[in-house]
Symmetry: C2
């Protein structure tokens, strides 16, 4: 049974998709061991509580400086002994020591087809604003392992989504969540839980 | 009836897709007025001849320098009075005077989902080599209007295509041709022929 920590900061819709996928059997052999938020007011914490999942707030405001927060977050996750860290809208720059402690065991979902509209400055609505500004007809989402770069880690799954005329960044964001993020993130967790995902030379291979 | 010039340099599989689409009615209200090749040995010229389409070779080797070739190509297409120029594997840097003479009336197909894997140096197999090197799970093709930049013009249509494990650049290239390029290029010509494509602020709008 794979033990996952889900890191959140806000509404937690991706967390909810994972919870629902475990409940309805789209994810098997995995559980959410803990939900960690940097923000005590995150609605994601309520979602976790409703699902009976343990939560922990680790806020930078509770520590004298950023290195102390980074150390606390890393120590907590290492001591907890989780197998996988899932970034589900975690709006904190991930500590390098945490990335090094969990090589190819941290996954993130990015709301575009990497390498389009990714890297520094491309997060949240900005991704969709940039896609609409370029006038693309297809966008999507990417689940990838997290490495030291920004959106540079090995790609696990991608799902394309149509851009429609009249889309606002908000409408496109919602469609990409519904048609891509909430599907491929649970699917990636299920594949990892079943030992089907391997990384070689920076690329992901998925066995049948 | 829209009169198109199709510019080729090689095998002409995209030209064939357009010819077939006219024959079977996927393109209506458009005809190929002329096929122009810079290369007298292009197999595309045979495809055109078999379909009863007039051809013309305009080779840089027949002119004293590049400006003279550029002028000849531009003059020919202007005098011919074509409504649309279709780049179907035309391996020549398009003269700026030609681009200025046909604003938003030159279209190209690029074998990726722009803005991924496009720009200077990304052509032919190099596009697919780069996509496989990054380990993307989705690629595709883009039909766009040609402007002064490289792959920067307004996007008309895009089609996503799955990358499969074991893909070589050649296999991925062929799948993207079959599942994307040969579909969206004829579709874009048909939409343009029916006056359904407009460009505003660098973005394409398609009316129903």
């Amino acid at each position: 049974m794979l033990k996952a920590a889900v890191l959140v900061s806000g509404g937690g819709t991706n967390l909810q998709a994972i919870i629902d996928s475990i409940h309805d059997g789209r994810i098997t052999d995995a559980c959410i061991d803990i939900v960690v938020s940097n923000n005590p007011g995150a609605y994601a914490l309520e979602r976790a509580a409703k699902a009976g999942i343990e939560t922990r707030v680790i806020s930078p405001k509770s520590y004298p400086d950023r290195p102390a927060f980074n150390q606390a977050l890393t120590d907590f996750l290492k001591e907890r002994g989780v197998d996988l860290i899932v970034l589900a809208g975690f709006m904190v720059v991930l500590p390098e020591m945490l990335i090094k402690a969990f090589p190819n065991r941290i996954i993130n979902v990015h709301p575009s087809l990497i390498p389009a509209f990714c890297g520094t400055g491309f997060y949240g609505l900005r991704v969709h604003e940039a896609a609409l500004a370029r006038g693309v007809k297809v966008s999507g989402a990417t689940v990838h392992f997290v490495d030291e770069g920004t959106d540079t880690g090995p790609i696990i799954l991608q799902q394309a989504v149509q851009v429609e005329e009249g889309d606002t960044p908000e409408i496109l964001q919602r469609r990409i969540m519904e048609q891509a993020e909430w599907k491929i993130m649970p699917k990636a967790i299920d594949l990892i839980a079943h030992g089907k995902v391997t990384v070689k030379d920076g690329k992901v291979y998925i066995s049948k």
